[in-house]
Symmetry: C2
Subunit: 423 residues, 2 copies
């Protein structure tokens, strides 16, 4: 493989034209779209219009005139197409962490409401040790606030299936691991969970927009996910939440099945009555008023994914990540790297990670060369390949930069700089 061959791949890439829809800085190879997606050019104009026209000129009237009130469901319905959900099962609200609090609470509530005989002390939230920390923190907070003797059991990534048993209330997993990019089988684990009487909560933060997800095909119960990674919604974009129709129906008479009771989740928020009565739909997962500017940017970001098509994106994602592994292993052999992501693309999301004893300094040196990925403790260099705007040429240039950094030991000259990254 040569650089020219990579450029030739770009010339044949059916998604190549999508790169121009993004505003990318000159001279940068951006392999961190799994931390913060790039800026869609259309978001510049959309945000300006929302600010100047809808907020400035429309003022309060824009809640109706500009249909601000519809945004959480409208953007949610678009995301539904990417994750195998029905449009009425998804909405945008709050952050991934807050949404996880909501659905994990609902899941535990549903388990608690089953006849006691069928429960056999079903008090375990099962997850994995390397799940994204905030997911584990949210679960820890819920266990504490409920005070009902729930416990969290953490196992290795590949031990989850075997750990599901008749004490498991909820299996809570991130579909694609934030460090390694390893992907769980949603179908298999959900099926296994259901056989054991457990429910599933999936965090799609590193899947949505890069990997086709089929929540309903897998009969998944609950899901949440992030708007600012592969959905390109901008820094701190609103998150999304999915609740399967059957569970929305099951909790219809359970007022606080979603315990963050707020006015926008009320069945009639504009009647301003003193008693909470939730909406009989996914709307009950709303709480307070969402940022309209942030939701509008997110809508543009989701549209960029929809316009390319999630299946075509997955094809390119696999091609990019396979190629990166191939070129790095070809160019960087015996330079201390070990592949930390699954080699089999069907078990991998849209990122590739290598471990290296000096991973932090290696990534700093790469960033100084204009190749932006990130470091994940203790020893991982992580490269995200957002197929909407990453080219085969980028893959070559990143691998070549990595070769230089390692072969020339540039990382030794990298000053230690504090860098806080955001997954």
């Amino acid at each position: 493989m040569t650089r020219d061959e990579c450029i030739a791949l770009d010339a044949r890439d059916p998604l190549a034209a999508h790169r121009d829809k993004f505003s990318l800085p000159e001279g940068i190879v951006y392999l961190d779209g799994n931390s913060l997606g790039a800026l869609p050019r259309a978001a510049i104009e959309r945000v300006a219009r929302v600010v100047e026209h809808e907020w400035g000129a429309g003022l309060i009237r824009s809640w109706n005139a500009a249909r601000w009130i519809d945004l959480p469901r409208r953007v949610g319905a678009k995301i539904a197409h990417l994750i195998g959900a029905q449009t009425h099962e998804v909405m945008c609200a709050d952050s991934t962490s807050i949404n996880l609090f909501k659905v994990l609470s609902t899941a535990l509530r549903l388990q608690g409401s089953r006849p006691q005989a069928s429960l056999r002390e079903r008090k375990v939230i099962l997850s994995e040790k390397t799940n994204f920390p905030t997911d584990l923190y949210v679960a820890q907070g819920i266990v504490d606030v409920l005070g009902q003797g729930h416990e969290i059991r953490l196992v290795e990534f590949d031990q989850v299936a075997d750990a599901i048993d008749d004490r498991t209330a909820v299996v809570m997993l991130t579909h694609v691991n934030f460090r390694t990019g390893a992907m769980h089988s949603m179908q298999e684990l959900t099926s296994r969970a259901h056989s054991a009487g457990a429910l599933t909560v999936w965090d799609l933060s590193h899947s949505a927009g890069a990997v086709p997800v089929d929540l309903n095909g897998a009969a998944a119960d609950f899901a949440v996910g992030c708007g600012y990674k592969y959905l390109n919604g901008g820094p701190g974009a609103p998150a999304f939440v999915f609740v399967a129709s059957r569970h929305l129906a099951a909790i219809a008479d359970d007022t606080y099945a979603q315990p963050l009771a707020g006015w926008l989740g009320h069945h009639a928020p504009f009647e301003f009555v003193a008693e909470y009565r939730p909406a009989m739909s996914i709307d009950r997962y709303a709480v307070g008023t969402p940022s309209i500017v942030a939701l509008s940017a997110l809508e543009v970001g989701v549209d960029t994914v929809l316009s390319a098509g999630i299946d075509a994106l997955r094809v390119k994602s696999i091609a990019l990540t396979d190629l990166f592994i191939e070129v790095v292993e070809q160019r960087c052999a015996a330079l201390g790297l070990s592949l930390a992501s699954p080699r089999n693309s069907s078990l991998r999301g849209s990122q590739v990670c290598f471990s290296h004893p000096h991973a932090y300094a290696v990534m700093q040196a790469l960033i100084q060369r204009g190749v932006i990925g990130d470091f994940r403790a203790p020893d991982i260099v992580r490269f995200g390949f957002a197929p909407l705007y990453v080219s085969y040429e980028d893959v070559w240039d990143a691998a070549e930069a990595l070769h230089q950094v390692l072969a020339e030991r540039e990382w030794q000259r990298t000053e230690f700089q504090t860098r806080e990254a955001v997954t």
Copy 2:
């Protein structure tokens, strides 16, 4: 009083120049800044810069390079100056409802941790019947999720002081009532609550930016508030949260005293460890990643308030609202209006409400005339006076429009149009 006299008041108004800092539509008298504050012109450029330069060009690097990571505390510190708090006691995060869930949980936790002998079944959350509904919903949700026999007691606005007793755990109040504009005495009620062994949670949504608040002067315990009303942060702007230093110290060893445990509230979020350990500061009231675009717009909005000075704003607010009452009562006598706000300005926030049997249609007719206030069920027309950009001429024009609508019975011709407003 005449229109010319109002124009003369504008000519002498020391805050008049601040109106030009806002982008207001031509031909509109905007008296709904207590639902959605107007657009600061500087926000247009700031938002564009954040989107194009910080997000688009800076990408993930902007968390450090553009100091995104500091925004929640930096904007919180600015708000602290408006509400009598220390800068390290306030941060911006999430929505008012979510923040209320956090601080009400902390308050109940603190009460629950006291020696049982001193509690005498201290299980009551005391509030008032006309509090903003979301505050009551949040409390209802917490009572349910805790499952510890807490109860909510609602009394009339002016009966709160007398209702505080040794069963009261928390007095939860909105400082300025969303419908009537009536203002509680924070000093008196907090003192009364403390004497009875209760804690206080204040919702400053209709105060911050319009009324000087002195949280520490009143020894208040907890507060939350809204960013998109008088703080001019834009639709659905992030909210803020205040926790008195002594309580931050008291909960230092109580991991889930703020039960929404998320990674940005962790003491070391970038170490990605599996166990939650909260920050030893107001930072623990963060949960997930905040919208940077929304927070940036909020910072501009808060700056508009700071540049005018909250005391000068209060002086003008009182002058505007007193004048509106005077002119309306002079021009609209015997036309069916009754003042629904306190006449004494020291008991009133920055809004004036009248009741009218056809309030909905009256407000619709006013809006058609370009005077934007809002209707609040069942019979209130509500006018908010944001002193940063509302003029004395606006006051006259609004009163005159109201006179026309009532005297000519224009409201009878107003078609019934569904209008959902957002407080």
